[in-house]
Symmetry: C2
Subunit: 387 residues, 2 copies
């Protein structure tokens, strides 16, 4: 087990009817709130009304900043920063999923700097302060509601980069599982894949297995996510399945899993960032394509751990470690397909003859993320496994 | 899954060599630190020197308050409050296990009130503020290093009561697994039993099993604690076993396990509090006596969940739920005995003919803890199962 620091101060208010608390929570941090959200979906499912009435009741001044899209873009976020400055926002409230929350986090940090905001993403400048961020979660996958990270795409060169700072960690997040009832089958499945990928990347990093606690946690989370997803796809309004899913995905990427694992990396997320930056595919769909391909690429070096996954999660028997490992990867891929995700580049609408172009984009990211083993050649090899 | 609030802001600094950071961390909160600890053990194993040198380096004014005993007593703690006031302490630093940390927490809250400190424990008065508490953990069991609770015994009537407030939650805790290397086999075992009891009490509370995540978490924690303890008893300086144990016990009672379980209760802890208040038995030893007895008492109402435990943890097969459940309880009891714990009142040196007296003490506690099902008669029945 490696040395680590764990710190996660987000206050989680979880359950039915809890969105009504948001006004009171926001009011602890100021009077003028910038309300960041996406498109019409929160107006259709009633969450917008719940949030607005709670903010009004608390006597807050509300300034709306809608229009956040999946894979949020820097240009739009810069408009949010300008608006937050103009209205002298005290608090940023995100009502949405990872894209909305990450936009809110970037606005919160961006308001405080007078240099190019992108310098925060390229680590040229540090994040020294930010406005308080609160969230009402409507799509459960990124764990952004309880972590210190934000992901953003810059139009120029289609670079999808990330920042990480305790200053942008949400102070309060409200998780009401009923907010997920209207989530489409496709996005429910993508959420599952995102969380599974958050779990599997460090799991395979923890090769030495000197931390059985961490391995068991990952396996406990995986079982819960897979079981919940299968129920959700049949019964979208099953409260307990949505609740288990919502809470598990939050913990899948809030620091607990990786605490003690040493330096963990997210190469699957990195390669997927290039896919979704270039082709605007949903993040979870992109991960369903890359995750099994990356595992195949890894098999030559890590069949022991892959075999453990196959045995623990898919109950695959057998003595040949390589065969068990390969069968486990196939089972995972089939499960992704069964819940309705693309599991090959072609199925995701991505031209196979553009593998070099994707690898070029991802290899730039690999430098920033300091994943020096992930050269352009290696990324090409992984992408070939995604066919 | 029930509604809940989860908030746990303690910063954990975990790993080898991390005690040297304590001076810098304490200095963030003030200049005069009250150093609370127990007896000579931290001087023998070198932790005292590590702490002192780090505090000196940070230029802090150190006032020592040693002499905390297991099952800490109010009278001694009141002296700590007086001393903290006298020297105008800014920060309370606990170097020890649960008893030391709970003393520090009580001092931190006690300094701020001008009424009887015991009123906080009987819930007659609320905790509205406290001095910042930091900890260096040397005995891993209570999870007090990462939770908002403190337990204290009042000499009058031998009442062992508890308080709970975010104000006394440690700001920073340093967990260095090497600090546990010199821990005796007996206390290593008691730690395991304490953590197991923290897990099993809510596990059996979660009868509806509408939260598979929580059930699986408990089982994941149990396996890790049992496996680590078996290694530790053979190899007391096995770093990874100590590290896994230390981190798992912290999470066993810091709010995660019970989040979503609804109202959980701790009847085993409650009855044990009477044992250790009257007979000054180690808390973990007392729990090893009461836990299996309580499970036997429960069997008539909850054999399904007991059978699940038996199957998941002890791999017991069989179709008769009651038989499987009973065998699981027996296996747990045998495991407690195998790691060197008493598993009956007599083995713990507690006279069987004093069951009524213990039940009398515990039934007072049951009223404060609002465990109204735990009448004197019920407690007698449970204690009879502990023979």
């Amino acid at each position: 087990m490696h040395n680590f620091i764990f710190e996660n101060s987000t206050r989680i208010i979880f359950g039915r009817g809890q969105i009504s608390q948001i006004g009171r929570e926001v009011a602890r941090f100021g009077r003028t709130v910038l309300l960041v959200y996406g498109c019409e979906s929160i107006k259709k499912n009633g969450i917008y009304d719940q949030v607005m009435s709670s903010l009004w009741e608390a006597g807050l001044k509300i300034v709306e900043f809608p229009g956040v899209k999946s894979n949020p873009m820097l240009a739009h976020t810069l408009k949010g920063i300008a608006l937050a400055r103009e209205v002298q926002a005290d608090v940023i409230l995100a009502v949405g999923g990872g894209s909305v929350i990450d936009t809110a986090k970037t606005i919160a940090a961006g308001v405080k700097v007078d240099h190019d905001v992108w310098d925060l993403f390229t680590y040229k400048k540090p994040i020294l302060s930010a406005l308080p961020v609160l969230t009402v979660l409507t799509l459960s996958a990124s764990a952004s509601e309880m972590n210190a990270a934000a992901v953003m795409t810059r139009e120029e060169g289609l670079q999808k980069f990330s920042i990480r700072s305790l200053h942008i960690q949400p102070r309060v997040s409200i998780l009401d599982p009923t907010a997920l009832f209207s989530l489409s089958a496709a996005y429910s499945a993508y959420s599952a894949v995102d969380a599974i990928s958050h779990l599997l990347e460090p799991y395979f990093n923890n090769q030495e297995s000197d931390s059985p606690f961490q391995d068991r946690l990952v396996e406990c989370f995986l079982r819960t996510i897979m079981e919940s997803t299968e129920i959700i796809l049949k019964e979208p309004s099953n409260y307990n399945a949505r609740a288990n899913m919502m809470w598990t995905t939050t913990w899948a990427f809030n620091g607990l899993i990786v605490a003690g694992m040493g330096v963990t990396s997210l190469p699957v997320h990195m390669i997927e960032h290039s896919l979704s930056a270039i082709y605007d595919i949903a993040h979870g769909a992109g991960l369903a394509i890359v995750q099994p391909g990356w595992m195949r690429y890894m098999q030559k070096n890590n069949s022991r751990k892959l075999a453990r996954l196959a045995r623990e999660i898919f109950r695959i028997d057998g003595n040949d470690e390589n065969e068990v490992a390969a069968e486990g990867i196939e089972k995972l891929k089939n499960w992704f397909a069964a819940i309705g995700c693309p599991t090959s580049l072609v199925a995701g609408g991505i031209p196979e003859d553009e593998i070099e172009k994707i690898a070029e984009n991802a290899s730039v990211l690999a430098q920033t993320w300091q994943l020096k083993d992930y050269t352009r050649e290696v990324i090409v090899e992984i992408l070939r496994q995604c066919r």
